[in-house]
Point group: C3
Chain length 340, copies 3
């Protein structure tokens, strides 16, 4: 067999380090296409001049470009035979990605737990994205449910202890970041860190209808190879399952309207792809302020935000049974940096 059949649950060993293939040099073309695929308008990632007034040498690539590139590399080794992408934790954007950087990914298996059915199991990995200087630019934990190849005995169950939220003092701050000369008019909204209250909910108002061509362009750009995103013959109904990261980027971009000053994502506390998304769906987003924190950087505060993507009405999340409502696509929990 010359082709990659993907790994099954039995193929993972606790502590194993997997070096993922196909490093990727990202340049300005990635940003251009990102801004064509999503209604991304955060000024720090749109304008070199704006980034300079924030203490950066020029505009870094959007945080989620780094996420998608790093994530995409893991797919052939982690999620080709995955039944479900179950969760994220302890994600931190530890460095900016600049045009011309070359990214690669490696994952460490930190947990394994067979399901009671005996036909699948949960694999926990800590994935690191590194640049050409071997600097870690992104670090996060993900767990997926993976099919078993056979019916062999279960390994000893190891479930890692994961923080439910990245602590404020562990938030990474881009080197040089300084919001004391921040231009709110150019950024698009006047709301400062202090204008957001814990518990506040924001309806981001706008909606975007999904197209097959768009999500496939995006998913290929990140070199994500999962068949279900590209091959209409994989499902009986002929629909392609949209890469969950496409919805993350769409929701984050939509959140500009009300959170235009939440310029940088610096930590990913958790996230659930609540329901699958398909072409034709019209996606809207709303946010909830979960927490606030100060940072040591001048003029820079942090907001912990819930970001929900939905096909339905804002602010509805779970039913009486505690389960996500059928219209909810994404429930993401992250920290963003915001001017004071």
């Amino acid at each position: 067999m010359k082709t990659n059949p993907g790994r099954f649950f039995e193929d993972y060993r606790l502590g194993e380090i997997i070096a993922h293939a196909v490093p990727r040099t990202v340049k300005m073309g990635e940003r251009t296409l990102y801004h064509a695929l999503y209604p991304a308008r955060h000024a720090l990632h749109s304008s070199d001049e704006f980034a300079k007034t924030c203490g950066l040498p020029f505009s870094p690539l959007d945080d989620l470009i780094a996420f998608h590139v790093v994530f995409g590399k893991t797919v052939p080794d982690i999620s080709l035979n995955a039944v479900a992408n179950l969760g994220y934790a302890e994600g931190r954007w530890l460095g900016q990605v600049w045009p011309g950087d070359t990214l690669r990914s490696e994952s460490t298996v930190i947990g394994l737990k067979e399901n009671s059915s005996g036909t699948s199991g949960v694999v926990y990995v800590r994935t690191r994205g590194l640049n050409q200087h071997d600097e870690v630019v992104l670090d996060y934990v993900r767990w997926v449910m993976v099919r078993k190849r056979g019916h062999g005995p279960a390994p000893e169950a190891v479930v890692p202890a994961l923080a439910s939220v990245v602590a404020p003092d562990a938030l990474p701050i881009p080197r040089g970041l300084d919001f004391t000369r921040y231009d709110f008019a150019l950024a698009g909204e006047p709301h400062r860190w202090g204008d957001y209250a814990v518990g506040e909910k924001i309806d981001h108002v706008d909606g975007v209808t999904l197209e097959e061509a768009e999500h496939m362009l995006a998913t290929r750009l990140w070199q994500n190879t999962a068949k279900v995103h590209f091959d209409a013959t994989q499902r009986a109904d002929g629909r392609r399952l949209i890469y969950g990261g496409h919805i993350i980027s769409l929701a984050r971009a939509l959140s500009f309207n009300g959170l235009a000053n939440a310029q940088l994502m610096v930590a990913l506390n958790g996230g659930a792809h609540a329901n699958p998304a398909f072409a034709g769906d019209t996606v809207r987003a709303w946010s909830e302020v979960l927490d606030r924190a100060e940072t040591p950087a001048p003029g820079v505060g942090a907001l912990r935000l819930r970001l929900v993507a939905t096909k339905g009405a804002p602010f509805a999340l779970r039913g009486e049974d505690g389960k996500y409502l059928p219209d909810v696509l994404l429930d993401l929990d992250y920290w963003a940096l915001v001017p004071l």
Copy 2:
């Protein structure tokens, strides 16, 4: 309210200057995507080498990229609650946009006139696009019909006096432009300025069928946020209204076939989005030579051109009632620079 509800007619004041948000650094990726979205083939915007033989340091970004970026920034402040985009006048591309430039927009309210219905009014703005050196790269007047929020009294009507055409001696010429070494074979057609007669009409022959994914990619790339272009739930028929600028770029690109040497757009005399365009429409274009002028630049003449985009037969424009025929999408009046 953290989100932007858009301005209503009452929110504009004569003389007010609006600094539009989200500056944008444009690079070569924008050109690449532009050439994927439209069948653009004008050699000056395709080849650095060709641009050098025309006296430029290298190939500038397509004129309409500048237009779309500058226009897109005005949408949240000018046309979010617009009922119709009524017209353009006095447009001039005053400077070239080079890869790496950062553009921002500002608009001055130069006219206000409430409609007799009392439910809307016409807002006239002069919009300027500026680069990071505060040089104006584009200047144009646009007027839109905007809904009123309430039923308050009408402001005094002020309608600006606008030139029906940019005078030939006011046409901006890119610094260094010289067509005396122009290579007609590489450009694709032998027709010189002198080969075009006033009154001549050209059928550009080719047609392009519109796709939802394409117009949305384009419209997002220009950071244009008007809901109707992205959200299929905004109309009862589930169709998305295509950004009028998408049709301008498509028609201009199609006009290569017959006007391959009309290399640069330098002035926009006027324009009407005669009817809306939707995915599935097949768009064709035809042009009419309206005027000719000499310029002080070596080897460089100017043609005033009517550019019409249509779903129907060429050269048909208005019905017996004087109104645009239902198939006509665009009627644009511009000046282009052409080798003598």
Copy 3:
């Protein structure tokens, strides 16, 4: 007539050299979009760092980008009135294309043969793609069936003698290429040149469903102007015919899964677009190893590969009548460079 009606069979003269219009500067944006349009993952074209370990200064543009750009320029002169694209031969990628290079194309008419029907004829051209230094980067022969304008007498039939395969000692090797430090883990597969046997067949497993927006974006990016790819009114069934090169790139990208180390295409021995492809088709690919050869470059071997794109099952190619099966879209014969 200002527009280009295309050439008819009578318009070609043996020995005539046609300088094709619209030179094109290609940069990193072209690579980005290429990787969004096709699931391209070969590491040499994905990572500057990987390319450096292979002896190159950085990552060149994908071989098929050069092919498409050079080919696209020939369309207005060669295939606008073509009935069919009949074959390729003697193709060689003689130089790498680097970001910032400007490409142009010229073709020499090397054969002419009227068909017995008297309504069309076969035109053979040798096309060369040149960069801004007048270096040939690509050279190939193509023959197409072109309609006759009238019923005039047939020219003397001249059919060029074409090699059925590029000889191993004529394979071009990129300057500096050295696979002795090749990183198989980063490249994605462990299979070396010696692991492939003549006659071996590889099912590349993955499938991609075609979308109208995607093939039009691609075809426009290469400035290919053939109406049938863009205009849904050209066919009674309203479908757009997909540019054959789109299928070549798609199949080549899919072949990563099993041929991840076939990093560079260096020669095109032949190829047939067996059946047309349309939006909605799900395309899969399989390869057959036709031959193996050594090269003088350190650590570098060559594989001659048949690459087949199909809507059907792998390894089925022709029916009992010797004709391509209806599901087969492409049968390509090329040489690739592979680490020893």
